[in-house]
């Protein structure tokens, strides 16, 4: 008995070491598989508030770029209004009494504006923290876009903050298609450069050219169809391969990302329930 106690005392440091390392590993493993616990991530409110404070300083220096972006978006929206008004004025007199106008159900979206308060681009698994959360109507699995294009998908939400998995994280693949030819495939990130990602599953017979635009396919309920994802930067195919190896330049610059929109798909629940019900039958 005395020997045992002596043994334990002598090696207590080693035991403590092993104990702490096991806790760490179990946390890493848990985080890989399940939803991260909100308390210990950066949607934790103390951590987030500090980030928000630091962001309010840094943001000052980005104001100019943000301004440029906004005014650009403004102009393009105005142009769109004019174009739509013109179309409307052409169409109205002809169909005055026969038209039964309704928005297609898959296009009923609402946007929630949010600000990026923390992000990384140089890890193998990057995350973005937003300053809007549950009380603003954000839920897990909603899509996130910026004025330039697709950013990522909401992972966890706390009361006032939310964490996004961006395209720059191998945990998600975003399904996208070519604007020109409608062929679709999953986009994933190689972990090297925040400007580029790889598109897979595009078969050999598809005709490609450099600069082709990629947009979201709309097959998942997270993103509506037609949001820009990127352009083809380079593509290769070996004699023996059935699929292209395509390098895509992402539309969004993740290093300067500051204002984003979270997509709230209003018919999400109805569509999911229907799909689930038909799977079960």
């Amino acid at each position: 008995m005395k020997n045992l106690i002596n043994f334990l005392i002598q090696y207590s440091v080693v035991f403590l070491f092993l104990f702490l390392e096991i806790i760490s590993v179990s946390m890493i493993v848990k985080n890989q598989q399940y939803q991260r616990s909100v308390f210990l991530s950066s949607s934790n409110s103390m951590v987030s508030e500090m980030y928000e404070w630091s962001n309010s300083v840094v943001e000052f220096f980005k104001l100019r770029a943000a301004n440029d972006n906004l005014s650009e978006e403004n102009t393009s929206l105005k142009n769109q209004i004019i174009k739509l008004q013109n179309q409307l004025s052409i169409l109205t007199p002809q169909k005055k009494d026969s038209v039964h106008f309704r928005i297609p159900p898959e296009m009923e979206y609402q946007f929630i504006a949010a600000k990026v308060i923390n992000s990384s681009t140089n890890k193998l698994q990057n995350y973005i923290t937003l300053n809007k959360g549950e009380i603003d109507g954000i839920k897990p699995d909603m899509g996130v876009i910026s004025d330039e294009g697709v950013v990522g998908i909401i992972k966890t939400v706390s009361k006032r903050f939310a964490v996004v998995i961006p395209i720059l994280n191998p945990k998600i693949e975003i399904n996208c298609k070519f604007k020109r030819s409608n062929y679709s495939g999953p986009l994933d990130w190689s972990g090297e450069d925040y400007r580029y990602a790889n598109l897979k599953d595009i078969a050999r017979h598809v005709e490609l050219s450099l600069g082709d635009t990629l947009i979201t396919s709309g097959f998942t309920s997270t993103f509506p169809e037609g949001i820009p994802v990127g352009n083809i930067e380079d593509f290769k195919i070996k004699e023996s391969d059935a699929y292209y190896n395509i390098k895509v330049k992402l539309a969004v610059n993740f290093r300067t990302l500051s204002h984003v929109k979270v997509i709230n798909y209003l018919n999400y629940k109805e569509q999911k329930d229907l799909e689930k019900a038909s799977e079960e039958q």
């Binding site: 760490s24 946390m27 890890k123 923290t129």
Partner: protein, 165 residues
């Protein structure tokens, strides 16, 4: 207890520096220095080992909370705290009854640099391997380890050379 106060102060400053400044530096896409580890390297030589381990765990967990990497920094920091005493013994003999704080002055320049380089390298290797969790990105990970270790060591030497004593 000026040593305790000094260490508390160092803990807070290093965490803030790491989280607010260094985590935003993404030089060339490869280099992300982790200078916070200096807190463990600069604990007095005769700090009880259990205390060093617990402090390292707390430090790592704090950094983890800010960078969304549950457990990774905690693991690497505890690893460094565990190997610290052995490393000190490897490079320098501390006299009985002495309890110096590791620095250029107390260790001598060459022993101190060896001590820093070895432990920072261990820390970064553990951390980046945990981050990739596979050898799929082997060369990328290796490049990150070596470049980041270099920058961290330079930063730590810069900070330490500002110390007057």
């Amino acid at each position: 207890m000026p040593v305790v106060l000094q260490n508390i102060f160092r803990f807070i400053l290093l965490v803030l520096f790491q989280v607010l400044v260094l985590n935003n530096i993404q030089f060339l896409g490869y280099i992300n220095p982790y200078v916070y580890i200096l807190f463990i390297l600069a604990l007095p030589v005769r700090t009880p080992r259990w205390l060093a381990l617990l402090l390292a765990f707390g430090l790592g967990l704090t950094i983890d909370m800010f960078s969304n990497t549950m457990g990774m920094h905690a693991f690497a920091a505890v690893m460094v705290a565990f190997l610290r005493n052995g490393t000190i013994k490897l490079f320098i003999a501390i006299e009985e009854g002495n309890n110096p704080t590791p620095s250029f002055h107390s260790f001598g320049v060459s022993a101190y640099i060896k001590y820093i380089v070895l432990l920072v390298f261990i820390h970064h290797t553990t951390l980046f391997l945990l981050e990739s969790l596979s050898f799929a990105h082997f060369w990328l990970t290796l490049a990150k380890i070596i470049l980041s270790t270099g920058v961290t060591v330079l930063l730590i030497m810069g900070i330490q050379s500002l110390n007057k004593r």
